[in-house]
Amino acid sequence: MRAIVIDDSRAMRLILRRIVGQLGFDVIEAEDGKAALDTLNSESEVPNLALVDWNMPNMNGLEFVTAVRADGRFKDMTLVMVTTESEQSQIVRALAAGAHEYVIKPFTQGAMLEKLALLGLVPSGATA
């Protein structure tokens, strides 16, 4: 299992890396949507999971989700928005663009694990 964490905050990337790393994911990081697309295009293995911030420079999370959903190579990648954008309209936009789940910052580790469990991404026996 492989995950990409996309957030312009190094601190948030560290937290998310730790959470999904505990689930057994190999984790790669990108600091914005454009860097993430560049990384995906250079990797031979498509991540199973992308955790995507919304507000980032260069390419924001919504643009990244839209771009990934338009590319058939990434059709099996689960996309989870992780953001402070909590307005209902923004959540609807993200889900309509192709995000599978939506986690609002601040979040607890338990809340994140619950969301990932709903997506079938928490291996049996892992702490949830």
Partner: protein
């Protein structure tokens, strides 16, 4: 007359409570204990909000509190915390609080990238702004403040 919706001190306290329980007080043993007076602080992290509402959300604290916040946020020992860790974590805390404040504001509002400055022995000023609410407190015996500053024409009801 302004019809802007402005988050209240209680809104700010609710947001800060969520941040604390998510990252800085996950065990429920280190709450932010409110105090009456604005404390003297060393590190100031802020985001600016522009658009439908204009102002700043400011998280400030002592050097020691900043270091402990970074350690708690990153789940590491305080002795391992670097200056970059402190900057990143304080900036992210301002970003999270500011992002949640923005969610209560008109949809056209936007949040800037965070700024973090060390003001030991000095101060940060917010031109043409007035502080509209502050949550001042003590965390792990160190001073912390989370405040909202609003552009004065809006605060005067002329925006």
């Amino acid at each position: 007359m302004s019809t802007e919706i402005v988050p209240t001190a209680q809104d700010l306290a609710d947001i800060v409570g969520q941040v604390w329980s998510s990252y800085l007080d996950t065990e429920g043993t280190d709450p932010l204990i409110p105090i009456e007076e604005s404390p003297s602080t060393d590190i100031v992290a802020s985001v600016s909000i522009t658009g439908g509402w204009s102002g700043h959300v400011v998280v400030s604290c002592s050097d020691a509190a900043a270091k402990q916040a970074a350690a708690a946020f990153l789940m590491m020992d305080a002795t391992e915390v670097s200056a970059d860790d402190v900057t990143d974590v304080l900036g992210e805390l301002a970003n999270i609080v500011g992002g949640n404040v923005k969610s209560m504001l008109p949809a056209s509002s936007m949040v800037s990238l965070p700024q973090v400055v060390n003001v030991s022995g000095g101060s940060v000023r917010w031109p043409a702004c007035v502080q509209i609410c502050e949550l001042a407190g003590v965390w792990r015996e160190e001073p912390v403040s989370i405040a909202m500053w609003q552009k004065t024409d809006l605060a005067d009801g002329n925006g």
